[in-house]
C-alpha cells in the first residue's frame, strides 16, 4: 500500500546518456575482414611496411604506393543501413567498390552470405554482381542513350531476362521510386533528383539483396537530398534491403539512422551508432568530425531520462500517496497501470479530494508524453510547454522515465563541451 518508488519498471541509469551501441543480434550478411588496398606496383612491399607499423606517408615515400585501405574490418547485418563515412581520400568509396570488386582488394577477405567474394572467378563474380548487388552512383551514371525504362531494365537485360518480364519488373521499380509516367523519357530530360530516383530504380529492379550507394545524394540540392534520404529510409523499411551507403555528410548519416563506420586515411576511426560516436568519440579526429553536429537531433530522449521520484500505481491509497508526495516535495505524480503503461498525471490537490475508499485513478488526468526514440529536438516543444517533467514512453506506451528542461540543457552542454576540449588538447 505504501511505496511510490522504487517502481517495477526499468529505468536507465538516470540522466547519463547511453554509451554502448545496442548489440546487433541480426546475422551478418557481409563480413569484411582485414581488407587492404594498395594503389601502385609495389603493393606487396607496401603491405609488409604497413604490417611493420609504418604509416601511410612513409609507405608512399618509400614505395610510391598509395594506401587506399589499411586493414579494414566490419560487418553489415542483414537489413541494416550502414553508412561508411569519411572525408574525400579516406577510402570510403574504395571500400564500397571492393565489396563488389569494381576495385580489386590487395589483401583480406570479403564474404557475402558466407561466400568469399575475393576468391571468385570472373564468371562467378559476374553472376554474383547480377544477383546480389545493386549500385547507385554519385553522378547517377545513367546511360544517356537509353530511356529511363531502358536504364532501369539494364540489369535484367544483362541477365538475359525475356523482354516482357523485365519490362514488368522495371516498371514496378520505376513506380516504387515515384517516376511513373517518366519511363519513356531520356535521362537528359530529368532533374537531378529524378535522375537519382531512376538510378535507384535501376539498382532495385534486379531485386538484389544489397544496395551499394556511393555518395548517392551528394550531387543533389539540400532540400531534395533530405526528401530522398527520408524516402530511402521508408523504402528500406518496406523492402528490407541491406544498404551500404557511402557519404561524407554526417547529417546524412544521422538522417539515415543506421550504424556508422567512420574512416580516416584508409582505416576505420570508429564504428557505432551516431549517438555512441557523439557521446564517446574515440579520437580527437572523430571528435572534430562530429563537432559541428546538431546534438539535439542526434541525442535520443530515451538516453536522457530521469527516474521520477513519485509514481502512482493501481491500488495505491490516495491519501497515503498524497502524504508521501508531500513529504518528497512532489506537486504531482505520473500514474501507471499494472503493465507499466502510462495512464496520466495526478495533482496533489486532486488526490486530496478523492473520497476515501476510491482509487487514485479518480485523480488521474491525461498528460503529455514523448516517445523514447524521439530526438531531443523533436521533444523540445513538448518539454517547453510543460511545467512538470514530461513522461517518456516506449513503443508500447510504457513509462521509461521523465525528461525535463534542465536535463536537456545539461546533456546538450555536456555534448558540446566535450569535442571542443579534446580538439584543443595537445
Amino acid at each position: 500500500m505504501t511505496p511510490l518508488a522504487p517502481v517495477n519498471f526499468e529505468i536507465g541509469p538516470g540522466s547519463t546518456p547511453a554509451t554502448a551501441a545496442p548489440v546487433d543480434t541480426r546475422p551478418a550478411l557481409i563480413e569484411v575482414q582485414d581488407v587492404s588496398k594498395m594503389f601502385g606496383d609495389r603493393g606487396a612491399e607496401a603491405l609488409a611496411m604497413l604490417a611493420a607499423g609504418e604509416d601511410r606517408a612513409a609507405v608512399l615515400a618509400r614505395t610510391g604506393t598509395a594506401v587506399g585501405l589499411n586493414h579494414v574490418s566490419f560487418d553489415v547485418a542483414e537489413g541494416e543501413i550502414l553508412v561508411v563515412m569519411g572525408l574525400s581520400g579516406s577510402g570510403k568509396s574504395t571500400m564500397l567498390r571492393c565489396l563488389n570488386r569494381l576495385i580489386e582488394p590487395s589483401s583480406g577477405t570479403i564474404r557475402v552470405r558466407g561466400a568469399d567474394v575475393t576468391a571468385m572467378a570472373p564468371g562467378v563474380l559476374r553472376e554474383f554482381r547480377r544477383k546480389t548487388f545493386g549500385m547507385v552512383f554519385q553522378h547517377f551514371a545513367l546511360f544517356p542513350h537509353r530511356t529511363i525504362l531502358g536504364n532501369v531494365e539494364f540489369g535484367l537485360e544483362v541477365q538475359g531476362m525475356a523482354k516482357p518480364a523485365r519490362r514488368d519488373s522495371a516498371m514496378r521499380a520505376i513506380e516504387l521510386v515515384g517516376l511513373k509516367g517518366w519511363d519513356a523519357r531520356y535521362p537528359s530530360e530529368l532533374s537531378g533528383g529524378m535522375k537519382q530516383r531512376a538510378g535507384l530504380a535501376r539498382a532495385l529492379a534486379a531485386d538484389a539483396a544489397v544496395l551499394l550507394m556511393d555518395e548517392a545524394f551528394s550531387a543533389l540540392d539540400p532540400l531534395i537530398r533530405r526528401d530522398m534520404q527520408q524516402e530511402l529510409v521508408e523504402l528500406q523499411r518496406r523492402l528490407r534491403k541491406t544498404i551500404v551507403f557511402v557519404s561524407h555528410d554526417l547529417d546524412e548519416a544521422i538522417a539515415l539512422g543506421g550504424r556508422i563506420v567512420l574512416m580516416k586515411d584508409g582505416a576505420i576511426a570508429q564504428a557505432g551508432t551516431a549517438e555512441a560516436i557523439l557521446a564517446n568519440p574515440a579520437t580527437p579526429y572523430v571528435a572534430r568530425f562530429v563537432e559541428h553536429i546538431d546534438v539535439a537531433s542526434v541525442l535520443k530522449v530515451g538516453t536522457l531520462t530521469a527516474v521520477p521520484p513519485c509514481v502512482l500505481r493501481p491500488g495505491d491509497d490516495p491519501a497515503a500517496a498524497a502524504d508521501r508526495m508531500e513529504a518528497m516535495g512532489c506537486d504531482s505524480a505520473l500514474a501507471i497501470n499494472a503493465a507499466g503503461r502510462l495512464l496520466g498525471r495526478a495533482d496533489l490537490s486532486a488526490l486530496r479530494r478523492v473520497p476515501a475508499g476510491q482509487g487514485v485513478d479518480r485523480a488521474v488526468q491525461p498528460c503529455a508524453r514523448v516517445p523514447a526514440s524521439a530526438s531531443v529536438k523533436q521533444a523540445l516543444p513538448v518539454v517547453a510547454e510543460e511545467a512538470e517533467p514530461v513522461a517518456v514512453v516506449d513503443d508500447a506506451d510504457r513509462l521509461r522515465g521523465t525528461i525535463d528542461r534542465v536535463g536537456i540543457i545539461n546533456a546538450l552542454a555536456r555534448q558540446s563541451r566535450r569535442p571542443a576540449q579534446e580538439a584543443t588538447a595537445p
Binding site: N100, L102, L125, R126, E127, F128, R129, R130, K131, F133, M135, F137, H139, A141, F143, P144, H145, F154, G155, E157, V158, Q159, Y186, P187, S188, E189, R202, A206, L212
Partner: protein, 280 residues
C-alpha cells in the same frame, strides 16, 4: 663524302620484300584484283545507267531525311552543276571508288579500333602503324599497289584504303576510351560480360566519335581517289590530271570545283548523320 658506315639498304630490302610478296601472293592479288574491278565496273555501270535526275533526287531525299530542306536543295543544286558541266560519268566513277574504299576502311578499321581500345598491347602496335600510314606521302602507296593489282581502279582503292583508314581506327578507339569511367563502372556493377558492355554501353556512347572518324575517312578517300588518277583510276581525278598535262587551267579549275562540290555534299551529309546519333 667519305662514309665509314655502310648505308642501310632500306630500298633494296623493301623491293625484295615487295618482289617476294608479289610472286608469293600473285594468285591472291589477281583474284582480289578481278573481283574488285568487277564490282567497281558493275556498280559504276549501274549508277551510270540510272538517269542523273533520279540520282540527284535520291541524294536530295537522303539529305532531306538526315538534315532538312536546306541541305537537300544544296545537294541537288551541286549535283545539277556537275551534270551540267558534263562531269556526271567521272563523278559517278569517283563516287563508287570512294564508297567502296570507305566501306573497306570501316570493315577493317572498326574492329581494329575496338581491339586497340580494349587492349593496350594492340594499341601499341596499331598506333605507330597508323602514324606512319598517315604521314607517309600518299603517292608512295601508289607504287607498290601497281605490282599487286596492276594499273587501274583496284590499285587506287587499295592505296586509298591504307591512306584513309587511320581516322576510323583512331577515332573508334578514342571514342571507346573516352566513355566516362562511371558508365563502364555502372555496366560492370550490373554484371555485364565484356561483349555486353561493348555493345550496350561503350559502342553506343562512342558512336558520335566513330561517325566523326568515318566522316574523315570519306574525305581522305576522296582526296586519295583523285590523286590515284596518276595510276589510272579514272573519274574526276583524271580530268584534273589531263588538265595538268595539257596545261588547261580552265578545265583543271572546273574539275577542281566538281571535286570540291562532291566533297562538301559528302561531308555535310555524313556530319548530319553523326549529329543524329549523338546521345541525348
Amino acid at each position: 663524302m667519305n662514309w665509314s658506315v655502310p648505308r642501310i639498304p632500306l630500298d633494296d630490302w623493301c623491293d625484295a620484300a615487295l618482289d617476294w610478296l608479289t610472286t608469293a601472293l600473285s594468285d591472291v592479288t589477281r583474284a582480289v584484283s578481278h573481283t574488285v574491278s568487277d564490282w567497281i565496273a558493275a556498280l559504276t555501270a549501274l549508277l551510270q545507267l540510272v538517269p542523273p535526275p533520279v540520282v540527284i533526287l535520291a541524294f536530295g531525299l537522303l539529305a532531306w531525311r538526315v538534315s532538312g530542306w536546306r541541305l537537300a536543295i544544296g545537294t541537288m543544286l551541286g549535283f545539277a552543276l556537275l551534270w551540267n558541266l558534263r562531269l556526271w560519268d567521272p563523278m559517278i566513277t569517283t563516287l563508287v571508288m570512294v564508297v567502296l574504299s570507305t566501306a573497306a576502311s570501316i570493315a577493317i578499321g572498326l574492329p581494329l579500333g575496338i581491339a586497340a581500345a580494349l587492349s593496350a598491347r594492340t594499341w601499341r602496335i596499331v598506333a605507330p602503324t597508323m602514324d606512319m600510314a598517315q604521314t607517309m606521302p600518299s603517292f608512295v602507296y601508289l607504287i607498290p599497289a601497281i605490282p599487286f593489282f596492276g594499273l587501274g581502279p583496284v590499285s587506287a582503292c587499295f592505296a586509298t584504303v591504307i591512306f584513309a583508314m587511320p581516322p576510323t581506327i583512331r577515332l573508334t578507339a578514342l571514342g571507346i576510351l573516352q566513355v566516362p569511367s562511371e558508365m563502364t563502372e555502372a555496366a560492370d556493377s550490373f554484371g555485364t560480360t565484356r561483349m555486353q558492355k561493348l555493345f550496350k554501353v561503350q559502342l553506343p556512347l562512342a558512336l558520335p566519335t566513330i561517325m566523326a572518324g568515318i566522316n574523315q575517312t570519306i574525305m581522305l578517300s576522296l582526296s586519295m581517289v583523285v590523286i590515284a588518277a596518276m595510276i589510272g583510276a579514272g573519274g574526276l581525278g583524271r580530268e584534273v590530271w589531263s588538265a595538268i598535262q595539257r596545261l588547261e587551267a580552265g578545265r583543271g579549275f572546273q574539275a577542281g570545283v566538281a571535286i570540291a562540290v562532291l566533297a562538301i555534299i559528302l561531308d555535310r551529309i555524313t556530319q548530319q548523320v553523326s549529329r543524329r546519333v549523338q546521345p541525348r
